[in-house]
């Protein structure tokens, strides 16, 4: 017994010392990081709900059935197995130790064994998944491509060891009469039967040796966990708890420095704008990096990665973590001259640069589509980190792809990406047979229900102008009074913000908020998913509070209320593409489908990736205005995915998606890879076709 106690406690002390040192170091990195912006603890009920659904319920993991279920088994297995650890430590001191109150109940014995077996099953499933989807077999397509593979296998092997050593000592305990459960523990009993013939003496030894072995393996596992991606076992709860709620999508956060918003009119001397180095990240950023499980779910959905670009949200986060750890000795050292050269070199590596931690091609490949954030089971906030790094590059270094200069200058001087200027904002109304009420600086009249936010694309882009006209005509038909700002509208600032030019965003947004508030606008309808997102989610940051609807929301309401009646059969199979900023970022999935579903003579064919897992068209994150020179083109990849559903009409609900997909379909038609009849259009245009009498359609097809 004494040996048992001494050895057990000695092992524990050593393991706790090693693990503790590591944890203390990780904690100090977190402390050295920037304070987080306010609001990370606000809304406790939503945070608790997230812990319940995402941690305990493993909601995001379960969207992938097989690995999800396996993880549920492992996760719950570990929760239950924590009891056996307590029992094990108790048994160090008292051979027949049992937990108080419920410690001898057969159901508990059964539960423990059930989850021990479940954990074993999960290990086998994980191993199978890792073999089947190994990067060696699947290359870049594998979600494990770029993950630390050896460490992952080691962890699986260790979990396997935990399970068998536990069963071994529990079996021996039964044979020596020290087991707390008279029945229920079926697996332990099976092992007991197996080793019973060895005799009482041997079982005595196995009991002690097995116990020490099991504790030793658990402790080794602990040390391994804090040194690997398995740290998420401890950090995931905190990361989910402090995450942006409901999710880190939709709005981008303003620029914070030292936990306070930066005033661009009068910045503080020491304000840090964006992230220039690893210490500029907040502790929540560090927690994100520490929590990444390297599962690659994000990578598997990332449009950049899927089209051969160097950006993978997973390797980006892993790279930042590895860099933080490499630089930590230097960053945390009191006397920097004594730090070893490697750590000092790591600390001095630029964060972004061709020789830096993050290659510029990685940084600029992101479309901010949100697929990664949506997928991540531990709620890592990739987009925020990417945009924060872009912010430093653009605002402090003026470093960005040269093409972006045209975009930024046009936004600055003309107020729109095309450089057309306010004077041309109402040209899209040409050809409508009713006048569109234009505020041009006036207050909104009382009888006007909605301000129609046309958007830059809606005003200047040929295809989007058609959508603007279709929406105007539908509203007019339904008797909805609306008005437009006309020359008073400027770009919402979405591309400026997403490329990292927060200053320009603030200027454009402030101007629009002033115009909207000055005109007394309360309700807005927008056709552009990006405008919609910015108006609804970001303008409140600048004092602009409006009820913002996407046109598909308003139109589906008008159809449901009978104010718009689709009569003319469309006669087409329609495949709807969820725009990222409408779907994932804002959860508007149903209205466009409701509209399309009510049209006579239509069949909806869903593409394989749809709704939450919709695949970006390639235009978000200001990528619309950048050249796409690396890998294959995102819009072509998405076009092929949509065409696989064999539609006659590809419908989208965002002008940039329509543009991107129309280009993609046109290319495939040119190549003879799809029928000449396939068209790409906005949902509103399809609705309009059905609302109009057949004759009117023929007459006005142009």
């Amino acid at each position: 017994m004494v040996l048992r106690i001494v050895l057990g406690l000695l092992m524990t002390a050593v393991a706790f010392a090693v693990a503790g040192r590591r944890l203390a170091m990780l904690y100090r990195i977190g402390r050295a990081a920037q304070p987080v912006e306010p609001g990370r603890t606000r809304g406790v009920p939503a945070r608790l709900r997230a812990e319940l659904t995402e941690v305990l319920g493993q909601r995001k993991l379960l969207t992938w059935t097989v690995p999800g279920v396996a993880h549920v088994l492992a996760f719950w297995g570990f929760l239950v197995l924590a009891l056996t650890i307590v029992e094990g430590y108790g048994a160090l001191f008292q051979r027949d130790f049992h937990l108080p109150l419920i410690g001898t109940q057969p159901w508990l014995g059964f539960l423990e064994d059930l989850f021990t077996v479940a954990t074993l099953v999960s290990v086998l499933v994980f191993a199978a998944i890792r073999v089947r989807h190994s990067p060696a077999r699947e290359g870049r397509r594998s979600r494990f491509f770029g993950s630390h593979l050896d460490a992952a296998w080691l962890v699986l092997f260790m979990i396997f060891n935990v399970v068998w050593s536990l069963l071994l000592y529990r079996g021996a305990q039964i044979n020596t009469g020290n087991f707390p459960y008279a029945s229920g523990a079926f697996a332990s009993e099976a092992v007991a039967r197996l080793i019973h013939p060895l005799g009482a003496g041997a079982n005595d030894v196995i009991e002690t040796a097995g116990l020490l072995l099991a504790i030793g393996i658990i402790l080794l596992f602990l040390v391994l966990v804090v040194h690997s991606k398995h740290l998420h076992i401890f950090t995931a709860v905190a990361n989910v708890g402090f995450g942006r709620r409901p999710r880190a999508l939709g709005a981008l956060l303003p620029v914070y420095s030292g936990g306070k918003p930066v005033d661009f009119e009068d910045p503080g001397e020491d304000d840090r704008i964006g992230r220039s180095s690893i210490e500029d990240f907040t502790w929540k950023g560090m927690l994100d990096f520490a929590t990444c499980t390297e599962c690659g779910r994000c990578q598997s959905q990332c449009p950049a990665w899927n089209t051969g670009k160097p950006l993978s949200p997973k390797t980006l986060i892993m790279g930042l973590r590895d860099h933080a750890l490499a630089a930590a000795p230097y960053l945390l050292a009191e006397d920097k001259s004594k730090v070893d050269a490697l750590a000092a070199a790591a600390a001095q590596t630029p964060l972004v640069g061709t020789e830096g931690v993050v290659h510029p091609d990685v940084l600029w490949s992101c479309t901010t589509c949100g697929a990664c954030v949506e997928q991540c089971p531990v709620d890592i906030e990739h987009i925020d980190h990417i945009v924060d790094m872009r912010r430093y590059q653009v605002l402090m270094e003026s470093e960005f792809p040269p093409e972006a200069g045209v975009l930024l200058r046009n936004l600055e001087h003309a107020g729109d990406p095309w450089g057309r200027g306010a004077g041309a904002r109402t040209e899209w109304t040409d050809g409508l047979d009713f006048p569109v009420r234009t505020l041009d600086g006036e207050r909104i009249p009382d009888d006007v229900e909605y301000l129609f936010w046309v958007g830059c694309a809606g005003a200047f882009d040929d295809r989007a102008q058609r959508t603007s006209r279709a929406v105007a005509e539908l509203l007019h038909t339904a008797g909805v009074e609306f008005a437009v700002l006309g020359s008073g509208e400027t770009c919402t600032g979405d591309p400026a913000r997403r490329i990292g030019n927060e200053l320009l965003f603030q200027q454009l947004a402030a101007q629009n908020v002033q115009t909207l508030n000055g005109a007394g606008v309360r309700r807005i309808v927008a056709t552009c998913a990006h405008c919609f997102n910015t108006l609804a989610n970001e303008y409140p940051q600048l004092g602009g509070h409006y009820e913002v609807l996407h046109h598909t929301q308003l139109l589906s309401r008008l159809v449901a209320d009978g104010r718009l009646v689709p009569v003319t059969p469309v006669g087409a199979t329609i495949t709807y593409h969820d725009p990222c900023y409408l779907g994932r970022h804002n959860r508007v999935f149903t209205p466009p489908r409701e509209i399309l579903g009510t049209l006579p003579g239509t069949r909806l064919a869903e593409p394989q990736r749809t709704r939450e897992t919709s695949f970006c068209c390639g235009a978000g994150g200001a990528r619309m205005w950048l050249d796409e020179t690396i890998g294959t083109r995102i819009n072509e990849t998405r076009t092929d995915e949509l065409l696989a559903a064999e539609p006659d009409v590809v419908a989208a609900a965002c002008p940039y998606c329509v543009d991107m997909l129309a280009d993609g379909v046109a290319l495939r038609q040119q190549q003879g890879r799809t029928g000449a009849h396939v068209t790409v259009t906005d949902v509103a245009e399809v609705l309009l076709r059905s609302v109009r009498e057949p004759a009117a359609n023929d007459h006005r097809r142009a």
Binding site: P267, L395, E397, S398, G421
Partner: protein, 259 residues
């Protein structure tokens, strides 16, 4: 070596321009900017400074009060100081008058090299470089596409229709640069903040010792009689191919004396 860069505050190209009662452009009613072509001049000066050829860059503008916006923009790109010639009497000044004022100011600024744009983006006369150089009695090298300083001379490359020529001129000199000289930098926020602290000196005509009668509409050699908006562009002719598109296209070109 000190460089002076001439920069002009011009109306935004996409904005609606208005004209005052005296037919001069009403520069207060319309949003303005640093002339895009002058951004190239600023860029070239900054590159010379970065190459170690210049020690100080000063900007000079003549324009309405809001012209400081253009000055701040240039200072955000880089450079050290700026001079703004501001005087009510300047309203309506023509090219000759402008060059008189700019030359007087440049004399006070004591620059070894004057860099300016090839033309403004509003009036687009492209005459000031030559006029200013003439008044200062220094060499003018116009429409340079590349620029470097080699032991107290300035070497400029000029693109002509069939060759690129390299021109050498002794300093002091004036060079105007084209939009092919190299993409102008985008000012960083750091630059914008720094620009707020850089000195901008305002000079009046009196400071320059110029009689008000020599500038403004009174001093102008020309008189604007009327300002009319240009007629809206007519819609083009669309030829849809019904088998005879080529012939009709040829007819159209012939009818318009293009063939």
């Amino acid at each position: 070596m000190k460089i002076a860069v001439l920069i002009k505050y011009v109306p935004e190209a996409t904005a609606a321009w208005r004209f005052a009662g005296d037919h001069a452009l009403d520069r207060d009613s319309v949003d303005g900017r640093l002339s895009e072509l002058d951004e190239y001049a600023v860029e070239q000066a900054l590159r010379l400074a970065e190459a170690g050829a210049a020690t100080e860059i000063g900007y000079l503008t003549m324009g309405p009060p809001r012209a400081v916006d253009a000055v701040r923009k240039a200072l955000a790109m880089g450079g050290d100081r700026a001079v703004h010639v501001l005087d009510d009497a300047l309203h309506g000044t023509d090219a000759a008058g402008t060059s008189l004022v700019l030359a007087a100011a440049l004399r006070r600024m004591e620059a070894d090299l004057v860099v300016c744009g090839m033309a403004s983006t509003d009036a687009e006369m492209a005459v000031l470089p030559a006029m200013v150089a003439e008044r200062l009695g220094i060499t003018a090298v116009v429409n340079a596409a590349a620029l470097r300083v080699e032991d107290s001379t300035i070497v400029a490359e000029r693109d002509t229709d069939d060759a690129t020529e390299e021109v050498v001129a002794p300093l002091p000199a004036l060079v105007s640069v084209t939009d092919r000289s190299g993409e102008a930098r985008y000012p960083s926020f750091k630059g914008i903040v720094a620009a707020k602290k850089k000195p901008v000196t305002t000079w009046t005509l009196a400071d320059l010792g110029i009689e008000p009668g020599r500038v403004g509409s009174a001093g102008a050699a020309t008189q604007v009689l009327a300002v009319r908006p240009s007629p809206p562009r007519e819609a083009g002719t669309v030829i849809t191919d019904e088998g005879d598109a080529a012939a009709r296209l040829a007819d159209f070109l012939a009818a318009n004396k293009l063939l």
